[in-house]
């Protein structure tokens, strides 16, 4: 059947609450999980008394057998007290501690029961009771905490977030041992039912930001959180920009550092990273290592990153503009060298640069999509062999190759791949503008870029916050540099903090 826009299958998405009406009975649960081969039930006789039976149900593969055996089945089969008391009191005994499992809930709705079963809980049905007992005995098959691939630590903690949200919150708790660390959990995705946690520090973080983040997550009505974009694109203020409006990190120490600055953290089950809100430009130039290195080195490296940002963004466009439109701006010896290299190249400088930029992107994409060993081969083949052959065959001039390579390598210094991606897009835009209007076109492009960045906001904080004073409150410290830590007495980056001072 062809579904057309505007039919009743389209908006609004119908959702029945409760999703599964009716009393919590074994029959209803079996009806919900019909056609589910992994759904299992087990009838247990309490201490060999056939008159006293309870039913366990669970989803195979989601529960850990040893826990069910030791904490649930063994006490029920062996505890003589369960056979001696009245049947009406047995339920309370099981709920009260006869069963050893730490995590236990009483559930009285089918929705909750279904949710618990899919989460790996074991449900205990007791005859004559409207409630059931839900025991968290899920398997803990998950990746162990290891070192971050994207943000390697040279000097500092080497743990990184994993896919389990509860593990991740525990990593945060281990670093921030204050009870002021607050967690609010939301279930996102009708089908994935993904736990998403909002984390902040009470007394520092502005509650308006916390409430706004919670409101946006709460309003998310999507099928599921299957990728990082599933959260990002629902939480940012503006989608019509290539620049990332929320930073992310795999490192708990950086995540906790952001919380201490007064930002809000978001952790989602299944995503081995934590988001940091609101996002401001200077976040994407900082690394977790900045506070680990001595301040002079950290400052120099930060400045270097800013310089590299300018190089990666402007160098190809500047080359086109100067070589094609304003050659008098080039020093004589460099001009003679460029002219000599261009003698036998049949293409125009503009075409050369744009094609090389495109080839660079293709190589990078090919290297990323292939398995690591083959990816490395592609880089070597593409970068060295093809590049060298292209120069020797006079298809491109060496100067263009060098310019594109320097621009590309400078882009790799960006700690944030999202930000680096945005710079790559703008690099093309500026190169095209420089091709049309030389330095005039480039200047127009830069003006447009600054206009675009100045118009961005993240949860009420200007994206260019480190460089603006329009928000009414200075950041308290210079963001282009990293002063000695004893002199960084103010939390920076976020406005409306409840406590701006971070040390005596």
């Amino acid at each position: 059947m062809q579904v057309t826009r505007g039919s009743e299958n389209d908006h609004p998405r119908p959702e029945q609450i409760p999703h599964y009406p009716g009393p919590v009975t074994m029959e209803n649960v079996q009806r919900i999980f019909c056609d589910c081969a992994d759904f299992s039930t087990r009838t247990v006789i309490l201490h060999n008394d056939p008159g006293r039976q309870v039913t366990l149900c669970y989803i195979n593969g989601m529960v850990r057998g040893e826990r069910v055996n030791d904490y649930l089945l063994r006490p029920m089969a062996q505890d003589p007290f369960l056979a001696s008391v009245e049947m009406s009191k047995v339920f309370e005994l099981l709920a009260g501690g006869t069963l050893y499992n730490l995590y236990m809930d009483r559930q009285s709705s089918l929705d909750d029961v279904a949710q618990d079963l899919t989460a790996g809980n074991c449900i205990l049905f007791f005859p004559g009771q409207e409630e059931v007992l839900s025991f968290a005995v899920s398997t803990e098959e998950k990746r162990s905490i290891g070192e971050s691939d994207n943000e390697p630590a040279l000097k500092g903690a080497r743990d990184s977030f994993v896919e389990g949200v509860r593990t991740n919150t525990s990593l945060v708790r281990r670093k921030l041992r204050t009870p002021d660390v607050k967690l609010r959990e939301f279930i996102v995705g009708r089908h994935t039912r993904t736990p998403v946690d909002v984390v902040w520090i009470d007394g520092i973080t502005p509650m308006e930001t916390v409430e706004e983040v919670c409101r946006r997550i709460d309003q998310m009505d999507i099928d599921g959180v299957e990728t990082t974009g599933s959260l990002e694109e629902y939480l940012v203020d503006r989608l019509t920009t290539p620049f990332p409006l929320m930073a992310y990190t795999q490192r708990p120490d950086r995540f906790c550092g952001a919380l201490l600055e007064g930002r809000v953290g978001v952790l989602a089950d299944g995503l081995p990273l934590g988001y940091i809100l609101p996002g401001t430009l200077e976040q994407f130039f900082r690394t977790a290592q900045d506070k680990a290195f001595y301040w002079t080195m950290a400052t120099a490296l930060t400045m270097l990153r800013y310089c590299c940002m300018i190089v990666t963004l402007l160098l190809p466009a500047l080359y086109i503009a100067i070589v094609t439109f304003h050659p008098e701006a080039i020093p004589v010896k460099l001009a003679l060298s460029i002219a000599a290299a261009k003698q036998e190249v049949p293409f125009s400088t503009i075409f050369e640069v744009l094609i090389m930029l495109l080839a660079f992107e293709v190589l990078q994409e090919a290297g990323l999509r292939l398995p690591t060993p083959i990816g490395a081969t592609v880089s070597i083949l593409g970068g060295l062999v093809v590049g060298n052959a292209a120069v020797e065959a006079h298809i491109v001039s060496p100067a263009v190759l060098i310019v594109v390579a320097i621009a590309g390598i400078a882009g790799y210094t960006m700690p944030s791949q999202d930000f680096s991606g945005a710079l790559r897009l703008w690099r093309f835009v500026l190169a095209v503008l420089a091709s049309v209007g030389g330095l005039f076109g480039l200047a127009c492009g830069i003006a447009a870029l600054i206009h675009h960045l100045a118009g961005l906001e993240s949860y009420g904080v200007p994206y260019l916050a480190p460089f603006t004073i329009g928000a009414g409150q200075g950041s308290g410290r210079p963001d282009l540099t990293r002063p000695p830590l004893p002199k960084m007495k103010w939390r920076g980056g976020v406005y409306g903090l409840r406590n701006r001072r971070n040390q005596k």
């Binding site: 004589v332 003679l336 125009s348």
Partner: protein, 367 residues
Amino acid sequence: MKKRLIPLFMSLFLLTGCGDGSGLPFAREMGDMALLRTMGVDRGEDGGLLVTVSTGRRARGLQQEAEPPLLISAAGGSLSEACLTIQGQSDNYVFYGYVDQLLLGEELAKQGVEQILNYYARDLELSLGAQVWVVRGTARATLDANQEEGVEGQLSVLQTGSEIGAAGIARTAGELLSDLEEGSATFLPMLQTVDDGEAALVETGYVVFRGEKLVGVLEGELAKGVELLMSHAPAGVIQGELPARQDILQERQVHTAYHPVFQGDELVSVEIRCQVTADLTEFSDKLSNEQLELLRQKVEQREETRIRMALTALQGWDADCISLGRKLGINDPAHWNWLEEHWEDLFAQISFDVIVEATIRCTYGAI
């Protein structure tokens, strides 16, 4: 949204390239351009100008051997006309943006150079930062004589040598124009082609301009006197000052200060104090303190003679090409206006008290 779109569309209009008002520069490929390095200007036979331009040695690709310079020559009633003619004679687009060496023929210098400098000041591609030399004979002949290797390398070496004290004073078109605008005289280095099997350009001294015209040439000791007056260490060495010894001195630093001496409101003389620092670079035997003192005095006498000779020549031409009047005014601001008004009349007659103070730095083992 509309407010945002209006400037965008205005920008797009500018980018259309329609008409001369598009505001966009023209695209040119560097590989298709003849990048000129040197321009030579002579007075033509018909009274016009003869312009010769050279690209310097050109490389066809990075690995290829360099080709001889492209040399184009054209005559015209004016520099603009000659340059346009050159544009038409070349297969490539002739780009003047890299012309940083200007050679002026001797005959042209005698008849006036202001026309050339004005063109350099006004043309979009040419720059007043170009180094200027006057060549003995014609610029065309100089460029022709060096046709195989080009003069660009030699001129670059002279320019660099001037900065490090290994060659004479280099002047730019901007400095020349500025001198002519502010005062009445200036000077330029002079070159001559020497052909000992292979043509080479050598410095022969300085030409002095009074107004825009060449009035005289300072060579040998006179040229070194001008360099001392300009606080420029003369290139070359001093040797054989002491009898029966072959000590060699090399002057490293020179600082010359000028002070006007007034009696009442009348300028009676100008004190020139020149401090010279020389290194004893070569010596046969150790020097005694007496010998060193004698050597110092000899150097002072020699430099004083050079300065006096140069000043006498300049006074003879009534050409204050070293901007002495301006320097005196700077050192005595109270008499600035007086000097500005009377200096031109006084320069030819004023007496100079020249004081040279030499310091000889001895290298290890000299004493």
